[in-house]
Symmetry: C4
Subunit: 314 residues, 4 copies
């Protein structure tokens, strides 16, 4: 496993990281299966474990935390997030100071750790002044509840605003952004986000680099029953189009030439960006870990990258 600095920060994250989204607490509920997957990842060199309060409404944090707390804390980079509603309550959502501070304490308890390495604002909250958001996350870092903080799915201009506000006031600035980024969803990151973050030293950790599994080739023949994309119609419709199936099939030629799988190609492709620090993957089986971690260290030549661009643009 290779490691990268999280943006310009001193924190090192594994190129391939493990997230608890839409797996743990969903189709992976068995504690021993979670243990096998997490330990496999850890033993394969994965050090970054990404969580959010909202993943399976806290259950994902609990399941992953039960395994992580047995490992040496300093070898782990544990993150969680806050924004999405955890109940119907009006204050149990968003980025108000009240919600941010109340939520991290609950995440810490569920995860069974004294501090997070990264605490993410899971979305931007237009209803809270930037000043309140940045001061709340600064408080999170200053009080020792987290080492660093970051944003997720924020517009580039808002990230810039947060960084600049923090610097102007001597507060802790966000060091990472977590956007969606994959071969099939590249525009926003490449056109908008990276333009600011790369220059500012804000490192990207990207989610859904396999486009919900589409890029692995598992939808080559259409959508099987019970797959994640079937469960989620909108995402499904966007990804599993005839054009995309065609593109993914064509990518197989390149993967084969390189002697890697399409999943590995897709992961190596997001990691070819120097502004990307880690690709977050999910896993429902131990074998998937073996495949994904194999993408670390794979370098794509300019020629290969150009051919991929062509396929994606087709």
């Amino acid at each position: 496993m290779e490691y990268r600095n999280l943006g310009k920060s001193g924190l090192k994250v594994s190129e391939i990281s493990l997230g608890g989204w839409v797996t743990f607490g969903h189709n992976v509920n068995d504690e021993s299966m979670v243990r096998d997957i997490v330990l496999k990842a850890y033993e394969s060199g994965v050090n970054f474990f990404d969580q959010a309060d909202v993943y399976a409404r806290g259950r994902s944090e609990e399941l992953m935390g039960a395994v992580l707390r047995e490992l040496p804390r300093h070898t782990l980079v544990i993150s969680s997030k806050v924004f999405w509603p955890m109940s119907d309550d009006v204050n149990d959502r968003g980025l108000s100071r009240k919600h941010v501070l109340e939520s991290i304490d609950k995440s810490l308890k569920r995860l069974g750790t004294d501090y997070l390495d990264i605490y993410f604002a899971h979305r931007y909250d237009e209803n809270v002044p930037m000043e309140e958001i940045v001061m709340a996350f600064d408080h999170v870092v200053r009080s020792g509840r987290a080492m660093y903080w970051g944003t997720s799915m924020w517009p580039a201009a808002r990230i810039a605003e947060a960084v600049e506000f923090a610097k102007a006031h001597g507060l802790y600035a966000p060091v990472t952004e977590q956007p969606e980024y994959s071969m099939l969803r590249r525009e926003r990151v490449e056109k908008e986000i990276l333009t600011y973050t790369h220059r500012a030293g804000v490192g990207l950790v990207v989610w859904s680099p396999l486009a919900m599994g589409m890029l692995t080739g598992k939808y080559d023949e259409g959508m099987p029953e019970g797959s994640r994309l079937t469960d989620n119609e909108n995402w499904g419709k966007n990804f599993v189009t005839e054009e995309n199936r065609q593109r993914v099939k064509t990518l197989k030629t390149i993967a084969d030439e390189l002697g890697i799988t399409r999943a590995q190609l897709a992961l190596a492709w997001v990691l070819r960006q120097p502004g990307v620090s880690s690709a977050i993957t999910g896993a429902t089986k131990v074998q998937q870990i073996e495949e994904t971690v194999g993408a670390s260290g794979v370098k794509l030549t300019d020629d290969v990258a150009a051919r991929i661009d062509e396929i994606l643009a087709s």
Copy 2:
């Protein structure tokens, strides 16, 4: 129940809130009656519970706290206040750093909570430098004892001074002001306070929106024995005048037209101001809660508002 942001802050407060002033610890001393009233409010969507150390000399905090501590903390917005003397001691009053920090710890203990959502400076204190006041309340927020702080009955210029001093020094600024505001006491809020607070994003939570009950119509025929206004001569004299009784009777026509009570009309009227975040009501009976919460969401048309202006100016 509808909710509003407390000024520009991210905190959501119910349009109708429940205060412990002149009720709990006074004519409502029975613990089970307090429980019934608080739970009725909570179940009706009230999330903001307003207290002060001085209400019944701490007894009101204790009575309300005994009920609130059984409810999920994150669903509550709990406030308290400091300024008025709690004993004859010279330092047991005002806004000195000593009194502010000593008082909040006592309020937290009486309420049975680890932190307040809002801590109010109950009056401005001319004897303490603005710098000492703002730094003491900043310390309250920074040390985790409260999420936000606010002012109560402060002159607009002093609120502005506090906000600007805080911003200039990177300190936590007040996000709310709690003034008296009702149909019968409108000038100061409309002419002085809102002019600054609305623009600055400082949200008003107003007390005595029913003018000590006068606006409900219960003094239509004069002052009954044992009413709150009888007990308090000065307030009584100011509110229960022949002119006011006449105005309140005339307002009944409008309330009847809208199919609401005069209490609801009076509450909807203060809430018509976008700069007002919540109307604080007291209750001595569960039934009063049913009436007051019914005011949330009632919108007054410009025509109705104009007719009310005319009545009040008559």
Copy 3:
């Protein structure tokens, strides 16, 4: 008892305060005698109790603390100080960050309280940068170990430097200075200290306002065996001169006219300065408290003040 704000701060201190210097742990060692004196002072309205680590090497703090901890904390203004060596150790002295932070924790323990109201830098320390001193005392306040901090026997220019450095960096500034001041030692306070402190709102709490007892008249006939001045040759020589004895005898005429004692006259005289917040007195007998507290509220007319000036200048 009358009370004054400590300079421009919001803290109220009694005009007459009780110090533990050269009494408790010296000639007053009996715990029940300390109790009688402290309680007599407290019952007479004294709220400010002044200590230092070095008074009887910690014993004075212990003796006074044993009584104070039985009284309601918020009714007390407790101070202590740091600077003088507590042992032969090179770091057990002065105003280094190490010594300031280590010392206050020991004083808190000896006094049996969670926080001081005022922590004094007992002298200026030329060996420590102003920046280190102010940041250490700021840390004392910010960490909740003391409500305010002050200086003692500092040159006016150093007080000014500390105040300005603190303000320029958003740190807590000293709010009080504790100089020696009495009819027989007036020059420095009046010519140097007050010129800055009064304007800056730094309140003086003065020690030895009775010039080691000389101003009470007890040395009218020379120095008795076993008196404090005999024990301390230098102070003795400076105060108990023939000229001073003559002045003190002449002051008796004025005291008699006003129907007060010379001790009361001397205390009222230092309190005539609006820049002085409190006069610190020591006591070895309960009766002395009765006399000293009687000085609070005594106003000297301009005529009386002029006559005193004349006597002192003679």
Copy 4:
């Protein structure tokens, strides 16, 4: 023993200090031997005990801590350091916020103390932004984990950058630098480091002032089996050259004239620099302490210094 301020700070350190490097946990493993050495140093007036997490992988801290925790804490100046890998883990090294904060807590535990007096950044870390480094060490001081922080083996320009960044942002600045400095390694300190640190008030505490023992004369006849220099080939090759052996032999004449040993001459020589606050020595025998502490207070005349310069330049 004589003491010096650590640079311009208020902290006093003994001219001769005891370090745990390459001795405790290496050839000195016996707990009672460590106790004898540490207590001998302490009784001889040494107050500064220098450690690092990496010395014998934590064992040196444990061995020294076991003795130090029996001595009055305020009489000790205890330091430790962070930077070098403590395991193979990617984040278990360097100056990231994560590693700095995780490491000091472990050092405090091994040493058995609540706070360090000085926490050193053991090397500069080019992979971490200066802002992150300074804010992490500021957090160390602000949270009470250390009284001061310093750098070790940093380029002068980086020390300057850290000091200036800290001052510009109101953060705690480093007050000391720990470089290698001896008669046989003088260029860097004299040409580069002191130029900045002396003027800026950053005090040097120097390691290896005896050039790994070479300057004591113990390699006069070549390198004995089992000596430290034999174990470490590079250092050995650099120091134990024919030229150096000749120089060290010539220095004996001067030492003899002054009636001191060559070790004492070498220590007095580094201490002749006013910008040096302490010389850190190691010891494997109690007798070595007797010799090294004897160097404190030895003043070299200009004439002697000139003769030494000549010998070293030969």
